[in-house]
């Protein structure tokens, strides 16, 4: 018996060792990723990992960094032009639009091939056709995919909602979206949609071959098959590795057309890519580094990631000057820098559905509630917030049109973002608010430490105008999904959130206060102002024009006057990258579209001090 046991143990150990060895081996094959020396590799860094690489889930810049590089989109933003401008990408040209603005005809470039993949009959990538685009947009209307992008086209492109209602059968046509021939698309709208072309630059509209979607099903999210500049090598929660797509179409860079500004951008050495066809890299790696400290250290080591945003805690060490932003010499010697405002903002809206501080059937209470909201807005110390959290580098502004929007009005009165404790107290007193009858403010946040300190700061401001300590309370949510649910269900009186622009048009933020978008839509404030809604509807079918800008600004003023939100602040992004990297990095709007233009010089060529 005893010998038997010993044999058994020996056997087990052997199995364990083999399993271990096999583990190592399979591990190697998984990470069969790292560049053999000699390949031109660029290591990018992001602060979060995408949860899926399926275009139906391309809801954020993290996913788009990979999606728009693995897949093709019809349009794209110009590499260097700021403010952002569209250019044709897979599309041969801008669409031909009918006179009523309802029918769009788009031709795509012929001869574009998907990457080789076992999903194709002979394993070789076939040509991308107009029908593939139709298929890809339909996927956003197929509940099986749990798509996130349908809202871009819902109620806009004719027939898609009906197609979905009829059971999402891909063999059935959708009336407003069809391929006229191999290379021509026709799109019919229910009403004019000036932002339609912008939506075709989004990762949501990336083009997926039907063979891949059907073969991989859900696993398409980890196994992209596209026609973008790069193809996937490996992907997990800590990094994605891609390699050059050998079939990618040859389109020499025309810097002029990309919006190159020699004064502002020459320092990056970007002229080196003029006339060459992207992608320039053999390998593209993106490390997902959640802890900014880790990203920063990795960046500074020199042989790891080559790009980083400057972590907020490093600002004082890195910057010599904040206005204008300048690097300290030791950093300037080693790194290139770009800084700019984000295309988005943070704000805290009141949920107007709460009768304690929002709409009340009682007109008197309604009036007092408005005074209460205005007082809270006056007590909100944007300057302190900017100093504490953004080293004074952020820009705070009145209203909801963000500074990077072309419609932003720099001359707007700054009263709504100016701290006025005395004024706030007076307002409360004059409207009969006392510490006893003030409502409890429930401030919902996710569980992080920064969010907690945001709350503590907010509580201290509210205490300054007379709120008792225990009438400002925090409700924490484990995940963004959980707090999102609370917002969508209208469970929180204060909604503190950020919004990143989907496209460079103020409509994208104005819709946040459009009545019919109320919970569970994006109007978490549940602001309902008939006049505002009328103006929104009117402007939403207008092309950019001074008249539309005027309407936008009127709407902006309404939100400010009604004291609906403490708003807003746009953060400054500071990007650093190694000097041997030729690039103008950017992560706003769609995200990641610059990666195909990145080039890397041999290190010896650029090292400043040998």
């Amino acid at each position: 018996m005893r010998f038997l046991v010993q044999k058994y143990i020996a056997g087990l150990l052997l199995v364990a060792v083999i399993a271990f060895a096999a583990g190592c081996e399979s591990d190697q094959s998984v990470h069969q990723v790292s560049a053999p020396p000699g390949l031109k590799t660029y290591r990018h860094a992001m602060d979060q990992a995408p949860t899926s690489l399926d275009p139906t889930q391309a809801a954020n810049v993290y996913a788009n960094h990979v999606v728009v590089n693995a897949y093709d989109t019809l349009y794209a933003y110009k590499y260097l032009a700021r403010p952002y401008q569209l250019k044709p990408n897979l599309a041969a040209d801008f669409p031909t639009v009918s006179a009523d603005g309802l029918t769009y005809t788009i031709r795509i470039k012929p001869g574009v091939r998907f990457v080789d993949d076992p999903c194709f009959p002979d394993g070789r990538g076939r040509e991308l056709l107009a029908e593939d685009f139709v298929y890809s947009i339909k996927r956003q209307f197929d509940p099986k995919n749990q798509p996130q992008g349908a809202w871009l086209w819902q109620g806009r492109i004719a027939g898609l909602d009906e197609w979905k209602a009829a059971g999402s059968d891909y063999d059935q046509p959708a009336s407003g979206l069809r391929a006229i021939d191999r290379y021509t698309l026709e799109i019919r709208l229910t009403r004019p949609y000036p932002q339609l072309v912008d939506t075709f630059a989004q990762g949501y509209s990336a083009i997926v071959p039907r063979e891949a979607a059907e073969k991989y099903g859900k696993a398409l999210g980890v196994h992209p098959v596209g026609s973008g500049p790069f193809r996937l090598v490996s992907y997990d929660s800590s990094r994605v590795v891609m390699e050059r797509n050998p079939y990618y179409r040859q389109e020499p860079v025309d810097l002029q057309a990309e919006g190159y500004d020699p004064v502002e951008q020459a320092y990056t050495g970007i002229e080196a890519i003029e006339g060459r066809s992207p992608p320039f890299l053999d390998r593209l790696e993106i490390d997902f580094i959640t802890e900014s400290s880790a990203a920063w250290t990795s960046f500074n080591k020199g042989n790891e990631v080559q790009f980083t945003t400057v972590p907020i805690e490093q600002i004082d060490r890195v910057l010599a000057d904040k206005n204008p932003i300048r690097l300290r010499p030791e950093y300037a010697a080693r790194f290139h820098m770009y800084s700019g405002l984000e295309a988005g903002f943070v704000f805290t809206a009141f949920n107007m559905d709460f009768p304690e501080l929002g709409y009340s059937p009682d007109p008197e209470r309604n009036r007092r509630n408005k005074a209460l909201r205005c007082a809270i807005i006056k007590a909100y110390d944007w300057e302190a917030r900017n100093q504490s959290w953004y080293f004074g580098l952020a820009t705070y502004f009145p209203g909801i049109i963000v500074p990077v929007s072309p419609e932003y009005d720099p001359d707007l009165s700054r009263d709504s973002v100016t701290l006025d404790v005395a004024g706030a107290r007076r307002l409360l007193r004059d409207n009969g608010w006392t510490p006893e009858n003030l409502p409890t403010l429930v401030y919902g946040t996710t569980a992080g430490v920064t969010e907690r300190l945001f709350f503590e700061q907010f509580r201290a401001w509210m205490r300054a105008i007379g709120f008792p300590h225990d009438k400002v309370v925090r409700k924490t949510y484990a995940t963004f999904g959980d707090i999102s649910r609370a917002w969508k269900r209208g469970e929180l009186p204060l909604v503190a959130k950020g919004w990143g622009l989907d496209y460079p048009d103020a409509e994208n933020t104005l819709q946040l206060f459009y009545g019919p978008n109320g919970s569970p839509g994006s109007n978490d404030a549940n602001y309902r102002n008939p006049e505002y809604d009328r103006l929104y509807e009117r402007s939403s079918v207008m092309l950019a024009s001074p008249e539309r800008t005027a309407i936008y600004r009127r709407m902006n003023q309404m939100v400010t006057d009604d004291c609906v939100a403490m708003t807003g602040l746009s953060r400054t992004r500071i990007y650093l990258w190694h000097k041997n990297v030729v690039a103008v990095p950017d992560r706003e709007i769609v995200g990641g579209f610059f990666l195909k233009y990145v080039d890397v010089l041999p290190v010896a060529q650029t090292r400043p001090e040998g």
């Binding site: 805690e313 490093q314 004082d316 302190a384 503590e456 201290a460 924490t476 995940t479 959980d482």
Partner: protein, 296 residues
């Protein structure tokens, strides 16, 4: 009949008293242990002051500007939004005691009672059931379990406590069970049993008190574990909800240290280290003093 039980009881009480006297004497002879106890008492006074409102009251106020250095007004400087780090660190002491005491006391009570039942009914279905429950809870990795409890009780300020108690009672339970199995066969228990005392009475009057040396040591271990776990859980974002703790301060500091601001980190980690160290010393001395082989 009653006389008999009181004789059995008195004998047990006598045995207990003399043991406690010896334990106390042994403990007092242990210099490290006494020093630990003294340090714990100092911390306790600090916490008491917070509960009584003597100090630490301004932990939530924005009393200064961002990251002020050490000064007379702010002994440990201020944090990123201008709150006084000294007040926060002191306030956190009371949180540490709250977390530690709540978790230690409840985990020990639950572990003691359930362990005693399991041991007393060893071999029966009650014991099997309790052992099964212990194994089940043991099989789930601690941090995942705590995270899961915290998320499923989302928003509750006591999610962390519940999670820790649910994990920490098991160790105590197992030890008490083992001890009770031994005690169960001792004569005074047999005597009490023979004269018809209810089993409930026997467990609570005659058995549990005789496991008090285990309970005390286990409680001190649970206290330390709770304080240490709080730091990790706060880092993972599932710790204290409102108020202030060392874990939250260390979490605040993970980014600050890279900006060269160490006040939060030093204040919290030193204070925490001190208390944990003192408690470890105390707990060691208790363990030494109560080692039944050395006492009996």
């Amino acid at each position: 009949m009653n006389e008999f039980s009181s004789v059995a009881g008195a004998r047990a009480v006598n045995r207990r008293n003399s043991i406690w006297r010896k334990v106390l004497r042994k403990f007092l002879a242990d210099r490290t242990g006494v020093a630990g106890l003294a340090a714990v008492l100092v911390y306790f006074v600090a916490a008491l002051g917070v509960w009584c409102g003597w100090w630490g009251t301004d932990w939530a106020d924005l009393g200064g500007s961002k990251w002020e250095a050490v000064s007379a007004a702010h002994w440990f400087g201020t944090n990123i939004i201008g709150q006084d780090i000294f007040s926060r660190a002191i306030y956190a002491t009371s949180t540490a005691f709250e977390v530690g005491v709540v978790v230690a006391v409840l985990a020990t009570i639950i572990g003691g009672v359930l362990g005693a039942f399991a041991g007393f009914f060893a071999g029966s279905w009650i014991d099997e059931l309790l052992l099964w429950a212990m194994n089940v809870l043991d099989a789930i990795p601690f941090y995942l379990f705590v995270a899961a409890v915290a998320y499923s009780l989302a928003g509750s300020p006591y999610a962390m406590h519940v999670a820790m108690i649910t994990s920490f009672w098991i160790g105590t339970g197992r030890l008490v069970r083992g001890e009770v199995i031994k005690l169960r066969n001792m004569e005074y228990i047999e005597a009490a049993y023979a004269i018809g005392l209810s089993r409930f009475m026997i467990i609570f009057r005659h058995i549990l008190p005789n496991t008090s040396h285990i309970l005390l040591v286990q409680a001190s271990i649970a206290f330390v574990s709770a304080i240490k776990a709080e730091v990790i859980l706060s880092f993972l974002g599932i710790g204290i909800r409102d108020g202030m703790s060392w874990g939250l301060m260390i979490e605040e500091s993970t980014k600050e240290v890279l900006a060269g601001f160490y006040n939060n980190f030093i204040a919290a980690s030193l204070l925490m280290f001190g208390l944990v160290m003192a408690f470890n010393a105390l707990s060691d001395a208790l363990q030494d003093a109560m080692d039944p082989r050395k006492v009996a």
